[in-house]
Amino acid sequence: MGGPRITIVGASLAGLRTAEALMAELPGARVTLVGDEPHLPYNRPPLSKDGIEALAQGETPETEVFDKLVLRSKLAPGQVEMRLGTAATGIEGGDVRLADGTLIRSDWIVAATGIRPRRLALSGAMDRRHVLRSFDDARALAAGLRPGARLVVIGAGFIGCEIAATARKLGLHVTLIEPAPQPMLRALGARVAAAMAAFHRRHGVTVLTGRSLERIEADRVILDDGQAIEADLIVEALGSLPNTEWLAGSGADLGDGVLLDARLIAEGTENLLAVGDIARFANPLFDAVPRRVEHWCVPGQTAKRAAETIAARTRGEDPAPDFAPMPSFWSDQYGLRLQAFGAPTLAETQTVVEGDLSRIGAAPVIVEYARAGQLVGVIGLGANPATLARHRARLVAALAPSSPALSSNVTA
């Protein structure tokens, strides 16, 4: 008798790591990895930095730029069946239907379809408007990143800010437009976000916060205050939407991604799991609120967990009850490394424990984030990794489930 038939939909980092973890845990599993992109699984974070820089400079052949992004895999050739270049369109009777009509019989389905960029609800200048999620997006954007060109970035989250920084390095004029009062505000909190806004301005970016777009004309954009900004190139970096439409009818809660229990099984289903950017689950390190987290580490952490669940259930067991991965994320802008641990976004207060926020980029800064007096996150800006590692250890200790400070602060 063969092992369980497991269909993983989405062949990026989360899908690939899930396939690898499954083959390690369940060598007899019959795994199919489905992906809508024609490319082999590749790494996305460099796309907004070195990736578009190399593509824009054009000195390195495109294939070589891509080869550097391809994720090294522990899978032996043929160990899982790869169905690249084909999207899944739905679930029918517990099996996965592909766009080419194929039905893939499945005992388990792992959704790893990730996210897509949210687009502006405005028409105009479509040939100059870009988003950045895929290698093909990066290729299209890079073609317009010429020195002296005028770039307008709509949305100052991490991707928007990284693109702005890369474009400055390439010699473009850059305007960054953000409806919130500061760039990266939700992730970094007001004080650090304000310091990052000043850091971008010092690097020559026109940062316009509290502003949104009124309309887009042939060669300029008009803001809600009437201001007109010339634009050869527009990047929409407005956040993302989960690719979960194909799961309609699965019984899962698709309110924002896929609502999962601690085993990463979708609530309301028996054999559907989700991993990566679309996985919405509660992290007991912080509280009982399910959240979707778009960090690079999440795919690896959830892939391992999903494989443990399927392997345990295949053996007729239950996986270990708790899933409490420590969040970690980073960004690189103008050569400055921003490195975060925990969940700064949940904090109410920020305390600079080393350095000076007005000197970001010139000297190391470390900021601690607290909620109700409880340490929930730490961010280093240009910090010595050894120093930051000690702060991370402090955070791990503070968030340990045995910590009395935490249990008294847990709220649903």
Partner: protein, 61 residues
């Protein structure tokens, strides 16, 4: 098993130090140091570190 880090690729994210603290660590100057030769018991940790590296800079052999 041999452990090698391609320092021309490494960007000091420190994910390996988190995944396998007995193999990878930072010295006081913030440089990455690692145990170049590990036994089979540590192989799983080394592989976890390699998977966690966003730059794919860790080579195991």
């Amino acid at each position: 098993m041999k452990v090698h880090v391609d320092m021309s690729i490494c960007l000091l994210h420190g994910q390996c130090v988190i995944a396998a603290p007995e193999i990878f660590s930072f010295d006081d100057a913030g440089g990455l140091v690692w145990v170049a030769e590990i036994d089979e018991v540590q192989a799983g940790d080394a592989e976890a570190a390699s998977d966690a590296c966003p730059e794919q800079a860790i080579v195991l052999g």
